[in-house]
């Protein structure tokens, strides 16, 4: 048989087509029924965060292809890393051209709300059709009475740990409170199987777990009227707790960025950390024996007595100046429709959690019990604004690492508690002026 490269490509293409014929038929039917009628010859420029799990990206591109086939629109997808996405989106917001849709990190639409298209009709349509939005979706997507972004999915920041190391440290199950967690970290350090979380300028990792720590002790950057209240005895307690934790950590966490803990964990040097499910997904592929020894847990509960987690929602916004508003709306609605959304979050293997009630039933949350905790992300997450309203102030405070730097200043010994809190208070007051 004459099997050359060309015939292989042909075969592959035929296979791909065969697999997607059903999808295409369905997509066409969807486009007919959808309330959002795509403009003729619409071209959508979409920028999204760069994938962490390859299968997710593949499924996403299939979804894009189905949308193109069904509606005749062209979708041009660009991928940017976490840290480059926001500046690029900001520039586009300021210049008023270049992109139509941006799929970015938590507070992105709130950084330039005036430039975001009103997506209230899309959110209403989706909420009614797919079992309602989780309460956090409203906090992330809405400003005033208007939806300025649609939370597509969220990436959880939960405890990742090695079961054997935890058992050796004398714990049968993962501690549920902050006091127990500190004991575990101390024992892990004594066994030379340390824990570690980023104190560096890691936009994802450091912001999520450090806000958890602040809130778990009752500290807050602002109150519900956006008045700065960071300088408080509760914050001081959180700082003391962080110092105790830091002393048990693997060295170097003050310099860590978003990928440092993934690397150290997969190399077997780190035995507990706060991260998305990406470590586990990578381990399943490359180090099955490590994956078998791994598990996940909710963040421990602190003195305030209730969960205080912060996760990383990925919200999609459409720019007001887009020439194809209906195509943008249609794309968002199409993405979140069950025949797309279910296989896609399945492909993400737990990395992406849903905001719409219907998807609680997705098998990805039950097939492997180790991914189960990540199914509740949208129900558990708070917003980076804490008690305050999510808006450009909160987005700026997160981007300028106000809270992260306060903790890092204290744990590395650059400032005492008072100095660290006063510094953060001053910066926050400026941002919330």
């Amino acid at each position: 048989m004459d099997l050359n490269r060309r015939s292989l490509i042909k075969g592959g293409a035929a296979l791909g087509l065969g697999g997607s014929t059903n999808l295409l038929a369905y997509a066409k039917a969807w486009a007919q029924a959808s309330p959002f009628k795509v403009e003729p010859n619409a071209k959508i420029n979409l920028m999204r965060w760069k994938r962490f799990v390859e299968a997710e990206d593949v499924a996403f591109m299939q979804l894009v292809a189905a949308f193109e086939a069904a509606t005749g629109a062209k979708v041009n997808v660009t991928n940017e890393s976490y840290d480059d996405l926001q500046p690029k989106a900001s520039v586009v917001a300021n210049t008023g051209q270049g992109l139509d849709l941006v799929w970015g990190l938590y507070s992105l639409p709130h950084l330039f709300p005036q430039k975001c298209m009103d997506l209230s009709d899309v959110s209403k349509y989706l909420g009614e059709k797919h079992g309602g939005w989780a309460p956090s979706a409203e906090l992330y997507g809405k400003l005033g009475g208007k939806w300025i972004g649609i939370p597509i999915a969220a990436s959880g920041a939960l405890m990742n740990y090695r079961i054997s190391s935890m058992n050796k440290a004398g714990f049968k199950e993962f501690p549920k409170d902050t006091a127990g967690f500190l004991e575990l970290c101390k024992a892990l350090k004594a066994n030379n199987t340390p824990a570690g979380m980023a104190f560096g300028h890691a936009s994802g990792d450091a912001n999520t777990w450090i806000h958890w720590m602040l809130w778990s002790h009752g500290g807050n950057l602002v109150d519900k009227n956006n008045k700065v209240i960071i300088n408080s005895p509760e914050t001081a307690k959180a700082l003391e707790y962080s110092k105790a934790l830091y002393d048990t950590f693997i060295p170097g966490t003050a310099s860590w960025n978003d990928s440092s803990n993934n690397k150290a964990f997969l190399a077997g040097e780190l035995h507990a950390t706060v991260n998305g499910i990406s470590v586990y997904v990578a381990a399943k592929k490359e180090k099955p024996e490590m994956a078998a020894d791994m598990n996940h847990a909710y963040m421990p509960i602190g003195p305030v007595g209730k969960p205080t987690e912060l996760h990383l929602p990925f919200t999609m916004l459409a720019f007001q100046f887009t020439k194809v508003p209906n195509a943008c709306k249609a794309f968002i609605a199409f993405m979140l429709d069950a025949p797309q959304y279910n296989p896609w979050i399945g492909a993400a293997q737990g990395y992406l959690s849903h905001f719409l009630g219907e998807y609680d039933k997705n098998p990805v949350w039950t097939a492997d019990p180790k991914t189960t905790p990540f199914g509740d992300i949208a129900k558990r997450t708070l917003t980076p604004a804490g008690l305050g309203t999510l808006g450009e102030n909160a987005a700026a405070a997160i981007a300028d690492f106000v809270v992260v730097d306060m903790f890092a200043n204290y744990v590395t010994g650059r400032e005492d508690i008072k100095g660290a809190m006063a510094g953060a208070e001053r910066q926050a007051k400026r941002i919330y002026r």
Partner: protein, 320 residues
């Protein structure tokens, strides 16, 4: 030089119609040079003066990304004056620039003198020296990021294998370690530019001067001090001006290595400005930080230009 249009008494110009004055300007040989300069001026104004002016203007407003600001006077500067992070960044920038530029100069000059000698495979060695300069900054920064990694540093690993240390060196997690590490990376990257430029300068020095000096019994140090160094000063002035400017405004290296961490210990003014303006959306404040760099840069240029250019022909006189 007579300039009829400029020197014409006001009374006379008023007496004539505007059109004739314009026609006069159009054809006046004294204005011809000006018309030739217009295209170049247009480009400079559009791409240099306008952005610079806009940056300075933004620094007096509270503009945020996606929203126009209002004039707030010196408010941004008043805030920065009391902002310890800003002063840390000023200190870091000065330290970074001074130490790295000095080190680059010394090493670069040494390399240039070495490469000016008759070495085997001279052309190849000269080409090799340029490698750090050719590699894109972001790539070399990522390489350094691995070299300095808290867990996987090749340096820490080697020293541990040798049994010299028992724990990893905290390159980027400790305040001063991080500063020296970033300076080292900058020096590594900047040396080739200086070495090659100085080498070019060295090759313009006429060998007959050295011959004469040798015949007069000059020592190698005297030859360097009284022939090489004076003839090299114009090149040194230019190359150090560039080096100081590039180092002062460095961004990529710090951003890729530390993002200004740990706890802002390696934030330069350029990185802090980017973080505040683009990432956090406070355009006005970020612009104020950038504008605050201008006096430092002007001072650096001034020193290099007037301090090092001691020879008359460089200042427009004849060289006798």
């Amino acid at each position: 030089m007579a300039n009829s249009a400029v020197e014409m008494p006001a009374r006379l110009t008023q007496a004539r119609s505007e059109r004739t004055a314009w026609q006069k300007l159009k054809v006046s040989p004294n204005w011809l040079g000006f018309w030739y300069m217009v295209p170049a001026m247009g480009i400079l104004i559009l791409f240099l003066a306008y952005p610079l002016g806009l940056g300075v203007w933004l620094s007096f407003t509270d503009t945020k990304i996606g929203r126009d600001g209002v004039f707030v006077g010196l408010e941004n500067y008043e805030w920065l004056a009391e902002d310890s992070v800003f002063w840390t960044s000023v200190f870091n920038t000065l330290l970074y620039t001074t130490v790295a530029s000095a080190a680059k100069f010394v090493i670069g000059l040494y390399l240039a003198l070495l490469l000016n000698k008759h070495l085997p495979f001279k052309a190849m060695i000269r080409a090799l020296v340029l490698i750090p300069f050719i590699v894109p900054t972001v790539l070399s920064a990522i390489a350094f990021w691995w070299i300095y990694d808290a867990q996987f540093s090749i340096i820490s690993w080697s020293l541990r294998q040798l049994g010299w240390i028992d724990h990893n060196i905290n390159f980027l997690g400790d305040v001063w370690n991080a500063r020296w590490s970033t300076i080292f990376a900058n020096v590594w990257r900047g040396v080739p530019f200086i070495a090659i430029t100085l080498l070019a300068g060295l090759q313009t020095v006429s060998p007959s001067l050295y011959e004469a000096a040798t015949l007069d019994g000059a020592t190698p140090w005297q030859r360097f001090r009284h022939i090489t160094y004076p003839l090299l000063t114009p090149i040194i002035a230019v190359v150090m001006t560039f080096s100081v400017l590039f180092t002062f405004t460095d961004f990529q290296l710090i951003w890729a290595l530390t993002r200004g961490g740990p706890v802002n210990a390696t934030h330069l003014m350029a990185t802090l400005s980017y973080q505040r303006a683009i990432i956090a959306g406070q355009l006005g404040e970020g612009a104020a930080i950038s504008t605050a760099m201008i006096p430092f840069l002007l001072a650096a240029i001034g020193i290099a230009w007037y301090g090092l250019q001691t020879r008359k022909w460089q200042q427009g006189g004849s060289n006798d």
